[in-house]
């Protein structure tokens, strides 16, 4: 069973719709489960600003639950969800979940249009089951103004170029974050979510 964190942070239905399409059972969860269940998979989607995200996760009880989640549990952060997995962001004052050692900075290259909105290429830098066997070019839909800066190079799993080459997917243990929106990236997103949902526990 996949739980989708429903803390009022946007596109939860889009994630659920796509999981439904690939035949995965999922449920929206406004609050975390009472106890930690083995084999649980959690998706943390998100659209919004950093502090608002932290505030909502805290309010709903998700913040402390996700912070304490064992590294073996499969957790996938999408967009703001990815950013919340890191330590901090220059967008806000709050501390993130700190599950991946990274912080987020605003795109600042001269002449670059920010936010970065639209489809862009994602290039895996290590073999990660999330992207499976990469035979063709991967493209995903992005919409964000902040980018990950990983403190530990090992955590980086994919890069994308927008003015500069930045980390578009990272991982630490079974916690993964993607800056793009797989739920809105038709066939590319379908295969990514399928890969993630079938990762062995």
């Amino acid at each position: 069973m996949i739980l989708i964190v429903d803390a009022g942070l946007g596109n939860v239905m889009a994630v659920r719709n796509m999981l439904g399409r690939i035949g995965c059972a999922s449920a929206l969860a406004k609050h975390p489960p009472e106890e930690f269940e083995a084999g649980i998979r959690i998706i943390l989607p998100g659209v919004g600003s950093y502090d608002e995200g932290v505030r909502r996760l805290t309010q709903t009880g998700w913040f402390s639950y996700l912070k304490a989640l064992p590294a073996s549990a499969h957790l996938l952060g999408i967009c703001l969800g990815m950013q919340l997995l890191g330590n901090s962001s220059t967008e806000g004052k709050s501390s993130g979940l700190g599950r991946v050692d990274a912080h987020f900075e605003r795109f600042s290259s001269i002449g670059l249009r920010v936010p970065h909105i639209g489809w862009n290429r994602v290039v895996p830098v290590v073999e990660d089951p999330l992207f499976g066997n990469v035979e063709t070019e991967l493209r995903y839909y992005f919409t964000h103004s902040y980018r990950a800066v990983c403190h530990d190079q090992e955590s980086e799993i994919a890069r994308t170029e927008y003015g500069i080459d930045f980390t578009s997917a990272f991982r630490s243990g079974n916690t993964r974050g993607v800056q793009f929106h797989p739920e809105k990236s038709h066939r590319f997103g379908i295969s990514l979510l399928k890969n993630w949902a079938t990762l062995p526990c």
Binding site: N17, R113, V114, Y141, H186
Partner: protein, 249 residues
Amino acid sequence: MIPVLLLKESGLVKTVKFSNARYIGDPLNAVRIFNEKEVDELVVLDIDASLNSVGPNFDLVKELASECFMPLAYGGGISHVDEAVKLFGLGVEKVILRTSAARNLQIVSEIAEVAGESSVAVCVDVDVTKLGIRFLHSPGTKLHKDRDIGSFVKAAERAGAGEILLNSVSRDGTQRGLDLELISSVTACVRIPVVAVGGVGSLGDISDGVQAGASGVGVGSLFVFHGSRRAVLISYPSYDDLRELLGEK
């Protein structure tokens, strides 16, 4: 390149110069077709919602969003931040504000505050006088007929808009090409992406728009009408064709 679908009374329509709305089909069906064609993004505008002072048709948006495995932007009748939040919850990536933003850009700031700037776009409709002078087309607001388009888009950017949807009224539905001068002047004023709409009649018009500075080009008639009799046939070029067109490697 973004198909722009217009809704009127829950049906899909296409206009010419913002009038003569012609019914072209069931929106849900169109979304399904665009899904299969792996469209980059879809913009749905309800052209009735603000005019009739009714809010967004949440049931219809929910239905459309549930079928849409690509980014969906919705505009029409959004006058309160709560309505935008509700739309995000239904699976909409981006809300587009037109009338309410022209009345007061405060709503743009409020939505950007809760949802982030990349989630809110401001639609700017521009018309031209007979003498070729461009002005803001925003009936029912103080900005209507204002000629200082640059000031408004700059103010929208300052308020927190993440994108400008630049719509040329006089070219809408005409398929006679984008207003390239307008695109150049507006993109020079702001750093946020500008999506240009109105007048695309060929794939070449799209690359012209991008060259003039647009980050994206919205397309209405070209993707839904076919042939000189304007028969309804939903089409979309393949990714490879588009790439070749835009000269990407």
